[in-house]
Symmetry: D2
Subunit: 162 residues, 4 copies
Amino acid sequence: MEQLCIVTTGGTIDKIYFDDKSDFQVGEPQIGRILEELGVAFRYSVIPIIRKDSLHITDEDRELIRATIAAQDARHVLVTHGTDSMVQTAQVLSTLTDRTIVLTGALNPARFRGSDAEFNIGTAVGAVQSLPPGVYIAMNGRVWHPAKVRKNVAANRFEAAD
Amino acid sequence: MEQLCIVTTGGTIDKIYFDDKSDFQVGEPQIGRILEELGVAFRYSVIPIIRKDSLHITDEDRELIRATIAAQDARHVLVTHGTDSMVQTAQVLSTLTDRTIVLTGALNPARFRGSDAEFNIGTAVGAVQSLPPGVYIAMNGRVWHPAKVRKNVAANRFEAAD
Amino acid sequence: MEQLCIVTTGGTIDKIYFDDKSDFQVGEPQIGRILEELGVAFRYSVIPIIRKDSLHITDEDRELIRATIAAQDARHVLVTHGTDSMVQTAQVLSTLTDRTIVLTGALNPARFRGSDAEFNIGTAVGAVQSLPPGVYIAMNGRVWHPAKVRKNVAANRFEAAD
Amino acid sequence: MEQLCIVTTGGTIDKIYFDDKSDFQVGEPQIGRILEELGVAFRYSVIPIIRKDSLHITDEDRELIRATIAAQDARHVLVTHGTDSMVQTAQVLSTLTDRTIVLTGALNPARFRGSDAEFNIGTAVGAVQSLPPGVYIAMNGRVWHPAKVRKNVAANRFEAAD
């Protein structure tokens, strides 16, 4: 893996508490800081393309994400994304057949104790350098084909779709 | 991946502070607790075969690890191991060619703030379900062939060997 | 200090992320869990009287908090409260002159990495057993008289009032 | 409290893992970093006088600690110290009757998840600005007179002495 291209789109993984707003919103992408503190042994670049809760990601946004990735040289791409519409974005990206793209996110913000963010980023990093070209989702420690996974909202986890 | 077989051998990843001993030793394996708290979507079993700092792992220990894995049905195996002699153990396991085996560990104990343990376990989990049969090392966010990696002790990180 | 009476009212200290609501709200009081995990050497009881962001605490709520404390035997009381109107509640409690009451809270939720919650609870615990009867606020590592402190909202910290 | 003088002597609170030594030793004092990250509202200075496990603190060391404090102008002093001989050092400091001195430490290193360090530092900070001149120990959430407390080594906690 020559260089990992990371595209960030917002989502729970990047939610932080803004005390002056008495509210909890998507903040700066966390993945760059996390990988830097870990001292990872690969080169990477971060493109913070949008910063949205994925319930609010539109088809225009998905096309923007697709076009952004298509314009990059990197053959390995990691996308951080909200969990609510991650499957839909993965399906839109499926037209990009010449690189390995793994989407991940978190069910608890990276800034929260007990967050799944670092583990999920790790799963995606392990998968993206190991898989053949295609689009995949890494959540709950599994690597999924987008057509075969869904988020079970009530259970707050990803599971195999019929 | 039907079921992940996890073999634990000790190492820094499992070191904890024993206040009554005023010392810091390998304790109970952490990986089971970590995966349970994360709510991973795969079945796994944990075989805590030895509990040693890897500077003290002997050839007999390595043969025990190999024989333990060989006796399991699982085609996917994750081994947690100290970082100092991880490469040597990986080389001994290379005779097992019919399953995917990924070794990982941590440079800072799982119980420590800022530990690389969860990220490394994630990398190994993403890799083990994505790679063809063989033996691999997952450290510092990369997936390595054991013949092509070494631990740079002074720099406290894994890097490509010549 | 025979027994510490703890009254919880909500506030940022108890805010958690509800993924199914895609929102961040006051959850269960954290202080009981925190003190239990720390193994503190004093007896305490927790009265979770209300669960509100303190911007929404009313005069009726303040009277309820006052009456609740007045009805207890304990001479030492710790109140966890949102930071936005903590000073106002402290002023209402000033009519209770026969016990030591310390209010505290947090600028970052207890569940967040880097939260000030445990430190603030510690400051309040150290103060409540050391001070003469009266009402005090413990924030940012200082113990304040309610008439002489305010929250600087822009700076997100407590400071001496003129 | 005009300014808090902090004297650090080592102990479990400052123990960190040195991977290159495959060992766990007293490292740099943690309290300055902790107070800075918390944004406390008081001025303080840190005097890192010794860096020892308190089982190895000698009478000469205790005299050095006493003389160091005696030479300072500050009327409020916080000492971080190993828990094993904290009571002995507190007794030596009891000859300093003109200032408020609180000793604290931790049963788990500050760098460890679930450490009692921040809570204990908070307890000591709340106590040191609230108590009359004298020497005190703040552990397990209580403020103790040195003559009336001991460390129960087997139970790994502080308790009232007969």
